[in-house]
Symmetry: C2
């Protein structure tokens, strides 16, 4: 038998038990908050038809899709033969070319890839949860009660170049409501962000913007058609600075006069209310701009009526590069750790149009579990009490003792305590070491003496203290500790 | 923009919120039991290197692997060119063949597939959780404390022909302990099965066998080398009957004399203890057979010391077709529903050998979440109290009312009640219909009158009863109901 050296694909990860406990803390916290607000879980398949995925993420995104080879029976050699003919011709051309070295192989690379893709794959791994959700809503629209509040926590796959903190398989945690225009949804999502990061123990700030205001600004400076170029450029303000943003605007063909007109945007300072007031004055000639301001005013207004502890910053440079947002745009940043956004999203008015269901408005956010993990890990802020861990280990001294211990362990489990009996009569220090590395807080030692006395030697692994106790006393100690 | 008719790949499924609640009940129950016994969760990537997967599931299994196309940059056209040459030659051969119709395309089909597989894919989706777990154990052996008790609940993918109840993506729920020979582990797994199906509300029976006894029987009848053929044949006894089993044995080259000697196996009746006693007499000349009997005796013996409500049947015809079991073999059948096994597993002595770590013994079982779902669904035995669902909906009469309701809803959530405020001022019957289809048990109606009186009209959606209550009374009602 061949021996395979074990490894996993680049950019993927194994999650050990200790990491899983921490990850579960994040997922469980998010789930509990989503449910508290009435969101319901759905799941979609890992594989989607390529027709569902292609063209939804731009050319760059298409390239990053993981494609799945059709299984044996569905590969049709006749159609491959037909499709491969141009390739054969290319090979001939290459061989017969006057200067074969100069002949570019880029073209046949592309052709080969197209042949393979067209003829051998019809399915791909999902790239995010948004497009599958849109597909889901349209496909099941007759069974869905709108407004539809759903959450979805599943892995996604991207054939990205794996590097620091970027993975080829990672989880997204999405929460969306579709089929409702009400701004209450935006407010609710802010409440959810507030509550989630409170429960997770992460200090954060919500950056808030509105795409309609960006449209208004584009109108006001006389470049209504350049809204995407403008938002893409100003989204980079934090990263590259004002001068380079202006340079990019120039490169995109935005006139000097328009760039000058944009200055009030960069000068905007003060509290959210002040900013909104100044903005209102500046872009008062734009109907859509005023609509955006009105929306933000309502959100800020409502939030005054409820308790929110997270800071909310109106940030007009926030565009998130995503072209499908039509109203609110959200982004959450951790305050105590230097890291990208840990949550983000916005309002979209035509998510499902591409699948044949126009005019369904929705708003949603996505929590970045991996980044939240990194934040909590760096701050050492994961709860030490892990409800998922074993509370007590019974040492195993051999056949007679294990038979004696078995019903005691069972009684503890019936009472809800996570308990283990070491499987087999290993050396004492191996068993104690097991308890130590597993961070099991109590060890029960039952040998000849203890069996006769009907007592249990109970060792507290943290203090090192050891006592002889009855079973009832043992239960009391475990209860006090949990 | 192209409109794509939404659909998902054959053999995959969307899980709606109602199905997810039921599935989560199964997963959460299993997890809670696994944790109670000290098992810890791990996760492995959906994609594994093909070198990890290939050759582990037999030729049939290799064909059922979903392979992932290498992403753009890692497709090397030069090597494809080279590999594709025999195909070009084949095309020529085909065109030049004297009777092209008779020329079999099976061979080029195979060649094309090999080219594609060899040159374009290095990764595959995991086929089960056992092989990735073995790979995990070897890869991380220096970080693992043995005995290692782990559980893993993740989807697996098989390019099987989708048909009734067979899917191309489905979840497995595996629980294993590796690095311990102790029979306590077998006993613990029986306890876990008992407790899990108790908590799930499924009446079931555990069928128990031991591979060593099967080896002993093969020895006794004089066909020690035919153990696999014998077990494969007798595994089918329930399905095809005794005569056909004998026919299959003959076809596999097992002599008539040996088949006659096998008769005591088919005649074995009575309680487990009686069966074991008869067996012991029959195969007393086989050392390995007696070892198997001894193991089963110890398991039955220990079980007398603990409370187990599930029935356990010694079933020597149970072989589960899997060649890697070396000791105990488990299978669980539902009693009230006609369906295949809902859980199964066994002891294996060389799971990790293929990855370079020999002599690691383990024992584990796998729960079939989809079949358990089908059993509970057919029996209508899912709990009606769904802790995951919204308890109360606040009707929305417009801007003033929603502003008034917002802090009330927040107070309820703070108290842990899952609560919603309908997003937007839709027609009353639309909002009531939303509560109905969502099965929300209470609706709070707050209009002009209620705001003035500082009361809430509370409608019980099941009884239809409607009362005016204070906020404190509302909390009391919700508490009584949960």
């Amino acid at each position: 038998m061949n021996v395979t050296k074990p490894s996993i694909p680049r950019g993927t990860r194994d999650f050990s038990q200790d990491i899983m406990k921490k990850r579960n803390f994040i997922f469980d916290t998010l789930k509990s908050v989503f449910q508290l607000y009435g969101y319901q879980q759905i799941e979609t398949p890992a594989m989607e038809n390529l027709s569902t995925l292609l063209g939804k993420y731009g050319d760059e995104g298409d390239k990053l899709l993981f494609r799945i080879l059709n299984s044996g029976d569905s590969i049709n050699p006749e159609s491959i033969k037909k499709a491969i003919k141009p390739f054969i011709e290319l090979v001939d051309k290459f061989i017969g070319a006057p200067e074969p070295d100069k002949y570019s192989i880029d073209e046949d690379k592309k052709i080969i890839r197209n042949i393979i893709i067209k003829e051998t794959s019809e399915k791909g791994l999902r790239y995010d949860l948004t497009v599958p959700f849109a597909r889901y809503v349209v496909q099941h629209r007759n069974d869905i009660t709108f407004p539809f509040k759903r959450y979805q926590i599943q892995p996604v796959w991207r054939a990205d170049n794996p590097q620091n903190g970027r993975y080829r398989e990672f989880y997204q945690c999405d929460v969306d409501v579709v089929g409702s225009n009400s701004l209450l949804n935006e407010i609710e999502l802010i409440q959810i962000i507030d509550e989630a990061f409170n429960k997770l123990g992460v200090n954060a700030v919500i950056k808030l913007n509105n795409r309609k205001i960006l449209s208004g600004i584009a109108e006001i400076i006389g470049e209504p058609d350049k809204i995407i170029d403008i938002t893409v450029a100003i989204d980079k303000l934090d990263k590259i600075g004002l001068d380079k943003v202006k340079e990019e605007l120039r490169q995109k063909g935005i006139g000097e006069e328009s760039i000058v007109k944009l200055q009030p945007l960069f000068d905007l300072r003060g509290a959210n209310d002040e900013k909104l007031a100044k903005l209102k004055e500046w872009i008062s000639a734009s109907e859509i701009g005023l609509k955006g301001i009105e929306e933000l005013e309502k959100v800020f207004d409502y939030l005054k009526n409820i308790e929110i502890s997270i800071k909310i910053d109106l940030d007009l440079t926030l565009a998130r590069g995503l072209n499908y947002y039509t109203g609110a745009i959200f982004e959450v940043k951790a305050l105590d750790v230097e890291i990208g956004s840990i949550c983000g999203g916005g309002r979209y008015d035509n998510l499902t149009g591409v699948f044949g269901l126009p005019d369904v408005s929705g708003v949603g956010i996505s929590f970045g579990a991996d980044r939240i993990y990194d934040v909590l890990n760096q701050l050492e802020a994961f709860p030490t009490d892990t409800a998922q861990s074993t509370k007590i280990l019974f040492i195993n001294f051999g056949a007679k003792e294990e038979l004696y211990c078995l019903p005691l362990v069972q009684k503890l489990r019936k009472a809800g305590f996570k308990a283990e009996l070491f499987p087999g009569n290993a050396k004492m220090n191996k068993q104690m070491n097991y308890a130590n590395t597993r961070k099991i807080p109590f060890v029960a030692i039952i040998g000849e003496d203890e069996m006769q006395q009907k007592l249990i030697s109970l060792k507290n692994m943290q203090s090192g203290e050891q006592l002889k106790v009855t079973f009832e006393e043992l239960v009391r100690v475990l209860n006090e500790e949990s």
